[in-house]
């Protein structure tokens, strides 16, 4: 189980190392503007082929690169209804505070749970391998967080139910 996670993360790490070669590039369409080309999608020559890395049907990672920006979209494993709700709420909580994370995108790409947008400015301010470490660490932590949340919901439910039903004994 842990083995396939390691392989998945190593694969994502190597792809990101190759994809995160970004540079400052002014917009070709609008003068004096500098926009992330991966969001704009107007000039096909500036975009690279997107790479989809799937661990299984439920978990995958889409990496789209362009000349000045990179978009990473993740789909997190959601086994049942409860995990579905927990994931959605937790990731929405993070996305709403995207400014604090700097590289997080406010809305996930269609079909995914959470997205990162890394531009050349982030690569200039921060070190590339630290950014990659952050993304990979995030992916590891998400799984743990969701399971912890699920466990605490179940525990709390059990405690509350036990207390409530005590009055009927």
């Amino acid at each position: 189980m842990a083995n396939s996670l390691r392989l998945y993360l190593t694969c994502i790490r190597s792809t990101l190392e190759a994809a995160m070669c970004l540079q400052n590039f002014p917009c070709q369409e609008v003068e004096r503007h500098n926009k992330p080309e991966v969001e704009l999608q107007t000039s096909p020559e500036l975009l690279l082929n997107p790479v989809l890395i799937c661990r299984n049907e439920a978990e995958k990672c889409l990496i789209e690169t362009s000349i000045n920006s990179l978009r990473i979209s993740l789909k997190v494993k959601q086994a049942d209804e409860l995990e579905n709700i927990l994931t959605k709420k937790f990731l929405r909580f993070l996305s709403m505070r995207a400014e604090a994370f700097q590289v997080l995108r406010r809305k996930p790409v269609q079909g995914y749970d959470i997205s990162f947008l890394i531009t050349n400015y982030h690569c200039e301010e921060m070190q590339k391998h630290k950014l990659i470490d952050f993304i990979v660490q995030f992916m590891e932590d998400i799984d743990k967080e969701i399971s912890e949340l699920k466990m605490s919901v179940n525990t709390r439910g059990r405690l509350v139910a036990a207390e409530f039903l005590k009055q009927f004994i």
């Binding site: 390691r6 993360l9 790490r13 190392e17 190759a18 070669c21 540079q23 400052n24 590039f25 002014p26 917009c27 070709q28 003068e31 004096r32 500098n34 000039s43 020559e45 500036l46 690279l48 000349i67 690569c123 200039e124 301010e125 921060m126 070190q127 590339k128 391998h129 630290k130 950014l131 990659i132 470490d133 952050f134 990979v136 660490q137």
Partner: protein, 379 residues
């Protein structure tokens, strides 16, 4: 180790250029200004600040003989600066571009300069004496994407350009009244202004960093697909060679001599390429020292290190933890991508021993090949 001097000038450097006597360096610290620093008694002090552009300055070139600086910026403007007394006086150049300018280079005779732009055109600017004005002529056709890099052939007429479609093109830039028809320049000198001599479709990804060899026999440029292309006999039937790199793509290349070139890029380490006697180009070595460590810090068990990580917090500036994960730390001189490489030798010389590189980490590093015996045979 071939790096002889490292200096951190700013948080991030876009491009740089040296003065003719190599005592001053002009660079853009990722802003709309150009800073000129002078080396006096082993210390760098800021001599001038050129402030005229509105957006980031993407290209600087300092002419060697006429001591003029040309700067181009993402705000579609270009200025030629002349040193009058103790001030640098700008002269606006009407580029007639409607998008950002990406790169600039003085021609070998310094009567023209070429600007590559995001408007999918190349501007050739020359000085018109009657109006005391820099005038531009545009090469409008052919390019269907941004022109990322330009390079002049030593004969002052041919210009090579690379663009984000991966094509490298050679144009003739003969301008009546500025250039003279040289009888021994060959057939390429008979072409009109803006006529395309050659188009190379070798790269299927973005192309950057085109340069001619000192005598103009070989053309080199890099592609984002981690390849570097060498083209000999530029003309009707060119001979092209690709060299595949083992690492990340390059951004710029410099010819050290006719048979040796240095490429710099996202690996943060200059790579040396050389041609053997039969003309086949190969990768020789990295110039900077390169240590790869699997992770820094003491080895803990995985659970313990995770708890450690949570305890001390994992920040971007912190040292990396996490047993088992390889975050490769390239212990090279530059900490981030190298974007620009410039020769420190006198212009027009056939071989260069010293050159400087600048990058996104804000360092300007001067390299000297004097002590590298294995490379001297190629000089």
């Amino acid at each position: 180790m071939a790096a002889i001097s490292v200096h951190r000038f700013a948080l991030c450097i876009t491009c740089h250029s040296w003065s003719p006597d190599r005592s001053m360096v002009a660079f853009c610290p990722n802003s709309n200004e150009v800073h000129i620093y002078r080396l006096s008694e082993d210390k760098w002090e800021r001599a001038y600040v050129l402030q005229k552009h509105d957006q980031i300055v993407s290209g600087i070139d300092w002419s060697a003989r006429s001591n003029r600086i040309v700067t181009v910026s993402h705000d579609r403007n270009s200025y030629v600066w002349n040193l009058e007394g103790s001030e640098w006086v700008p002269t606006l150049v009407i580029l007639r571009l409607n998008h950002a300018a990406l790169c600039v280079q003085w021609s070998p005779q310094e009567n023209k300069f070429a600007v590559g732009s995001g408007a999918k055109t190349v501007c050739i600017c020359y000085y018109e004496l009657e109006n005391n004005w820099w005038v531009s002529k545009l090469i409008r056709k052919r390019h269907n994407s941004s022109v990322t890099s330009v390079a002049w052939h030593p004969n002052n007429i041919l210009l090579a350009t690379t663009s984000t479609v991966g094509k490298c093109r050679v144009f003739s830039t003969f301008i009546k009244g500025v250039d003279t028809r040289d009888s021994d320049a060959g057939a390429s000198a008979d072409a009109k202004f803006g006529e395309q001599i050659l188009q190379l479709d070798l790269s299927y990804s973005w192309a950057f960093g085109v340069k001619w060899s000192p005598r103009g026999n070989t053309l080199a440029y890099v592609g984002h697909n981690s390849m570097i292309y060498f083209v000999d006999d530029v003309g009707p039937s060119p001979l092209a060679q690709n060299v595949l790199l083992c690492g990340l793509p390059l951004r710029d290349v410099l010819f050290i001599s006719e048979r040796m070139a240095v490429g710099v890029g996202f690996d943060c380490n200059p790579m040396v390429f050389a041609a053997d006697e039969s003309g086949i180009w190969n990768f020789i070595k990295f110039l900077g020292e390169r240590k790869t460590s699997s992770f820094s810090g003491p080895k803990y068990g995985s659970q313990f290190s995770e708890a450690f990580g949570k305890f001390y917090g994992q920040s971007r500036q912190g040292t990396s933890n996490n047993g088992g994960e390889n975050s490769r730390h390239l212990e090279s001189v530059h900490e981030n991508c190298i974007t620009c490489i410039v020769s420190l030798e006198e212009s027009g010389s056939s071989s260069t021993r010293r050159f400087s590189t600048s990058g996104v980490d804000g360092n300007i590093v001067i390299w000297d090949l004097e002590n590298s015996e294995d490379l001297l045979e190629f000089l």
